[in-house]
Subunit: 316 residues, 2 copies
Amino acid sequence: MKLRPTSLSILLIVTFSLTIYSQKESNLAEKLGYAPDSKLLIIHADDAGVSHSENIATIKGMENGIVNSASIMVPCPWFPEIAAYARKHSKEKDFGLHLTITSEWRDFKWGSTSSKNEVPSLINPHGYFYHLVDSVVVHSKAIDVEKEIDAQIKKALDFGIDVTHLDAHMGAVMSTPDFLEKYIKKGREYQVPVLLSREIVAFEELESRLELTSRDIITDHVYQANPEIYSNLGMEKYYEKVLNELQPGLSVILIHLAMDNEEMKAVTIDHPDWGSKWRQDDLDFFTSQKARRLIEANNIKLVTWREIRDKIVRAE
Amino acid sequence: MKLRPTSLSILLIVTFSLTIYSQKESNLAEKLGYAPDSKLLIIHADDAGVSHSENIATIKGMENGIVNSASIMVPCPWFPEIAAYARKHSKEKDFGLHLTITSEWRDFKWGSTSSKNEVPSLINPHGYFYHLVDSVVVHSKAIDVEKEIDAQIKKALDFGIDVTHLDAHMGAVMSTPDFLEKYIKKGREYQVPVLLSREIVAFEELESRLELTSRDIITDHVYQANPEIYSNLGMEKYYEKVLNELQPGLSVILIHLAMDNEEMKAVTIDHPDWGSKWRQDDLDFFTSQKARRLIEANNIKLVTWREIRDKIVRAE
């Protein structure tokens, strides 16, 4: 994963890169009970909690499809709906937190979980999170990022969510080495894996300051569609290629599920990329028989963040 | 308007009561340029800003129907969408603020416009406004109510809304004499009329403490459907009766517009009263030819809060 702020500062992910299969990842597979050269995959839905459309699509993807993990945005208005689902299905469904310090849509906004005046550097003049990751990088302080992350985790736990992992909406809490350090720190504090990869730009700078242990999980490959892929290849062909070319190690495919309905069209207005249709295409692929067949044909093992948390991060 | 907290603490309005036509209201009609015994009516849509469904229905009601005023809930996630519309149509559309200190739906929540720790008595343990007016009455302090009202007005003005009036979501800021006093105070401070009627329970107690002037607008009749009306009579028959029996003086019909769609069904889940269908029925009636004909046949004059503000409250 490389963090390259685009004009909309949405996290762009480099794909298809072949990473050398290393001894470390072999250990991870073995710790989970698989052969050392297994292709392990998490099919992960981002952005639950934003809208009703995203919540029902996330649930469909998990119940009718092969989506096996998702992360929830605590500051968003539909958080209580998906939190209730996560709480009710805490044994069989894998939910983490999509830590959020941006509010990117034009007509539909949210702000901090902390009191605004406790995290002033995260809040724009209208009282919401900033629209762009660029603005976060310019204005925000790591101490406020840490406070807000902590407030989101505490609230999710208060709502009874069995938080299996942490990751980052629009990569904002990974956008500088200082923010990334707070994010990793919180993961260690709550003993949950955080999505982390050497493809994250800020990680290169930070790594020398970190003392990584075997409980720090580094994902080998992170795949995510981007606007070029969406317009040139389309979702079905892209995911087919990803699954057919998947390498040994731990991979994550980040997807964005929603119904292409009136609500979601309005949320994503003026924004076809990561828009309503895009998200419906993600849902359609990952609830298809084709996706299931590709997983099987390529001998891919679907693993969850909960397994990684319980068998590695929280191992005795 | 009587404020009788029901099991869901939604404002219930007494209807059909005939109020004696008084000299004072005659003056109001005359000040607006009408005969002293005119039947003046504001057809007012509450709850804009809550959901996309409510926003588009409010716009439809105003553009395709006879809805001639609406009020916006500043703390809600879809506030920026309706604020942009109000700003763009500030000359021809009448928008006030539906002051909000409750968050009543189960799965979809909002909190204060002020920093939470500045208005702690308004905030529940999950960081949202309380669900029920009853909880507001038990927990909230008038000083926090005043701070929050002020923050909502300032934010609306910052967004470029030409605020024509104030009223009260679920009647919460009218639910005690002390809250009501702050509400009236803010109206005077910003020189905007506030929805006020001798049918409000707290007003009886407060009136002796107030020095009312001719710039304090007291509405003669406030009509609103309630669950009994909805199930026994239905919206069409109810509004037909209200319009046919309308008395001279200033009347307001409070309605709740939304599309009966997936988003709104989810917002109002487990709650048929003030639910998705209820709101669609309101929209259907007030965009019908029948409603127009009844206004004409009964010689009802539609007036706006902006006229009242500019010709009376802000008169030289």
